[in-house]
Symmetry: C2
Subunit: 170 residues, 2 copies
């Protein structure tokens, strides 16, 4: 299963592509899209849309996994994160690629075993899982890869459990 993980944001949007199945994952691509802070909000979204479209066209993921954002102390940053999330959902929907959400807690738990792990620990585990020399930087890039790994592992497990349940029923 190939997953594009998206850590949504307008200042920095992390993108990470992973091929994986439970217990295994390999890096395909990782990067960060930055949109110009001084630009109009709509133009920033348009720029981000074009970049995510390029990634989706190039890497053809089976699924797009997006971090589910919750309210934060900083309302403005939550809003721009939500806007970036909408762009990712739109790009996926336009291609008929399923989009799924995972919470930060699910992602941390999937890669470190603890839903309350620190950022550095997540980065270190992403590097270990994908066989990289060091944690991808910036953190948004590592987070996008962690999301992709989380979905490749959890999503596949869920599908397998569903298949087992189907088998048990038939």
């Amino acid at each position: 299963m190939r997953v594009l993980g998206v850590d949504p944001g307008l200042t920095r949007c992390g993108l990470g592509v992973v091929d994986g199945r439970p217990g295994r994952a390999s890096l395909v691509a990782v990067g960060v899209v930055r949109t110009p802070v001084a630009a109009e909000p709509g133009d920033r979204l348009l720029y981000l849309e074009r970049e995510i479209e390029r990634w989706v066209e190039r890497y053809r993921p089976d699924v797009v996994a997006v971090e589910r954002v919750f309210a934060d102390v900083n309302v403005r940053s939550v809003m721009s994160t939500a806007h970036a999330t909408a762009v990712a959902l739109l790009v996926a929907a336009r291609r008929g690629t399923p989009a799924v959400f995972h919470t930060p807690t699910e992602v941390k738990a999937a890669v470190t075993g603890s839903g309350r792990a620190e950022k550095a620990q997540v980065g270190a585990m992403v590097a270990r899982i994908l066989g990289l020399d060091e944690a991808p930087r910036p953190a948004d890039a590592a987070d996008a890869l962690a999301l992709a790994v989380c979905h490749a592992w959890r999503g596949a497990q869920t599908s397998r459990l569903a298949a087992l349940a189907d088998g048990a029923r038939s």
Copy 2:
């Protein structure tokens, strides 16, 4: 000045087009886009995008005015509102149409004289200003028209003040 007001939402997105200048405003079109609650979030955004695109192509507004959303008690509804906002910004940016934000307080103050007016009062004033027999329904439609009126009045004032300031400087 022709303004498309957008009261963003996925369950109901109010759209209202007004031709106006300070003290004057006339109704061009009003409506509400509803997206299927059971559909995937991305598909709902795609549907909304197509509808807003149709409105922008048909009515060719000079400006798109969007309600600025703040955090709410209901995080999920704020997120879907923010996603709908992103769609409106994207559609406007793609056509090179400026998009502006107004807060609910600004909108209420523009049409009723009070930033703390009730919904019913806003609807009643929108009807009076636009010469309608009754307040447009649902409230999202009335709110979209109020936004458009607000921008046609305030936006024009701002531009006029800027022009005066330019004149004074030259």
